[in-house]
């Protein structure tokens, strides 16, 4: 559809706007650009920007020798997948219950779910740490993941989606003798696929970058995710060797960043879909 362009900038205004927009974009991308520059150039060029500086991969081997980033990445993968798997199962079941079963006390139960939108596990660190100590889950992947396993946001999002599924499809499946879980599996989940993708992308990005709770609940290389490993690496082991710090930074962000560059549109749309309720 062609947009009416009566208020589109023209002439000088267009030039100024374009210049402003690009200047802002330059500032916004500068940290990432600097990290890429420094990671791929020798140390002496980390604060000197000359066009003919030689390229090198030496920084990467130095980082991987100095700290177990491979292990950290595996830990992050495990923790992120574990959270997502729990969230998908728990939120799907709950969302179906709230969307299609007008059970006794549903209103109160749903209000209790929504409480988590305001009181996130992120701020309940003291009590949740105590719980994890009692459950003997400190320094394990479930220890990092379980507080996020049931997500109010996921329940809310999927409930909205399930409510928009025509009731006739549900009834038709029931007439054919499908149980509630079979109906959910055959009718609702396939129809909600785009929402699942959106939710998964947002959840993965969020937990890949999560820092404070993993910092508290892990204390060994075997459980630490990338964010915590990076903080310990950059904060303690390295003085001010910027090329090594930037390389480590890039390694921590790389999988998500590459996925974003490849599927830019899906990422932006997913964050949007997940935000607009």
């Amino acid at each position: 559809m062609q947009r009416a362009d009566v208020y589109a900038p023209r002439g000088l205004a267009l030039t100024l706007e374009t210049a402003g927009a690009w200047l802002l974009a330059l500032i916004w991308i500068a940290p990432l650009a600097y990290a890429v520059w420094t990671a791929f150039h020798p140390q002496e060029f980390s604060t000197r920007f000359v066009w003919n500086a030689p390229l090198t991969l030496e920084n990467f081997s130095r980082v991987l020798e100095a700290a177990p980033f491979g292990r950290y990445m595996v830990n992050t993968f495990v923790y992120v997948s574990f959270v997502l798997a729990c969230q998908l199962v728990l939120c799907t079941l709950a969302a179906y219950g709230f969307a299609r079963y007008d059970f006794f006390g549903a209103g109160v139960a749903f209000a209790l779910v929504l409480v988590q939108l305001m009181i996130m596990p992120d701020v309940l660190i003291v009590e949740n740490y105590r719980t994890m100590t009692k459950l003997d889950l400190v320094d394990t992947a479930p220890g990092i993941a379980l507080p996020y396993a049931a997500s109010a946001f996921g329940v809310f999002l999927l409930r909205q989606t399930f409510k928009s599924v025509p009731k006739e499809l549900d009834d038709a499946a029931r007439v054919e003798g499908a149980s509630p879980l079979q109906t959910l599996w055959r009718v609702y989940i396939p129809l909600a696929k785009p929402v699942y993708i959106a939710y998964a992308l947002v959840s993965i990005s969020h937990h890949w970058n999560n820092f404070l709770w993993p910092l508290i609940v892990t204390n060994s290389v075997e459980a630490r995710p990338l964010t915590v490993g990076l903080q310990i690496f950059a904060g303690v082991d390295q003085g001010i060797d910027w090329s090594v710090i930037c390389t480590a930074t890039l390694i921590s962000a790389a999988p998500l960043l590459v996925a974003f560059l490849l599927f830019q549109r899906q990422f932006v749309q997913s964050f949007m879909r997940a935000g607009i309720r």
Binding site: A25, G97, P121, V123, A149, P180, A234, T249, S252, A253
Partner: protein, 292 residues
């Protein structure tokens, strides 16, 4: 009758697993925080004992708490309006189909998916005195080096800048979606009436964007009280607590000084703040519903 009963039972069985996890990791800890804030911290063999409002009295006379609360207020007053304004500006620019629209949108949005803990390290370099990027650029104009993060005059400002940089592009996409939903006929009608672009924005676009602004406002306000990752990298709350935010202080008290009772009392303050934001949200949304 049995059919009705099985209906209720199935509904409960479906929501029960999620409710159990929420109860264990949200409802129970929230209540336990409140209860624990009236008890002392158990030390060694000495168990916790009921101390009434002692933790709160200690809080009132704790200068670091007041400093953290004040810093957090400044942090919120800095990040919320700045993020909203920049997000709107970005959305208008991307919506105007300037040259390289896709690249612009990507540049603005990229910080959203980068780990805060990682990019804060790069900002740390930018803020480094003398040879950091900021001072190198200022040096071109003959300015003297400045300890951006080491001075209590600028440290909190730097923490605000990094937070705005991180979240503005995320909020942009909501404004962008809302702008694209405004029917083009409104612009045509406004231009026939001879409205300037500014008038069109102020009288047509801005009011229509109000629901988006509310949504972004609430999210930015919540973020202002839970975004602390970059403090761990940039300043550790320093210099002299100039950048200590509430959640960061809770972390320090709870996991560095191991005074869990006092940390619980501080958490209660944070929960009250979040509840206030929720009250604002529901208050405004309900008022908005009257117009429909």
């Amino acid at each position: 009758m049995t059919r009705r009963l099985s209906h209720h039972v199935t509904g409960w069985l479906l929501v029960l697993p999620a409710m159990a996890f929420l109860a264990l990791f949200t409802h129970w800890p929230a209540l336990a925080t409140f209860v624990d804030s009236f008890w002392s911290t158990p030390k060694g063999k000495r168990p916790a004992r009921f101390v009434g409002p002692d933790n709160y009295q200690h809080m009132l006379s704790d200068p670091v708490f007041w400093k953290a609360a004040w810093n957090n207020l400044i942090f919120a007053l800095g990040t919320v309006p700045l993020s909203i304004a920049l997000a709107l500006l970005m959305a208008v620019w991307v919506n105007d189909r300037l040259k390289g629209q896709t690249a612009l949108r990507m540049a603005y949005f990229t910080p959203t998916i980068l780990p805060m803990i990682a990019v804060a390290n790069i900002w740390l370099f930018f803020f480094t005195p003398s040879y950091g990027l900021l001072d190198q650029i200022r040096g071109l104009f003959g300015a003297q080096p400045w300890p951006w993060l080491g001075s209590d005059q600028t440290a909190l400002f730097c923490v605000i800048v990094v937070a705005v940089w991180k979240e503005a592009g995320f909020f942009m996409i909501f404004y962008l979606a809302a702008l694209q939903q405004i029917p083009p006929t409104l612009a045509e009608a406004a231009s026939l009436e001879g409205a300037s672009r500014w008038t069109y924005f102020r009288r047509v676009q801005w009011p229509l964007l109000m629901p988006t602004t509310l949504f972004v406002f609430v999210n930015a306000a919540i973020n202002a009280f839970r975004m602390v990752d970059h403090v761990f990298v940039l300043t550790h709350g320093g210099p002299d607590n100039a950048t200590t935010l509430l959640l960061y202080y809770i972390y320090e008290v709870g996991f560095k000084f191991w005074d869990t009772a006092y940390a619980a009392a501080l958490t209660v303050v944070l929960l009250v703040v979040l509840a206030l934001i929720a009250a604002i949200q529901f208050g405004v949304i309900e008022r908005r519903a009257h117009y429909r």
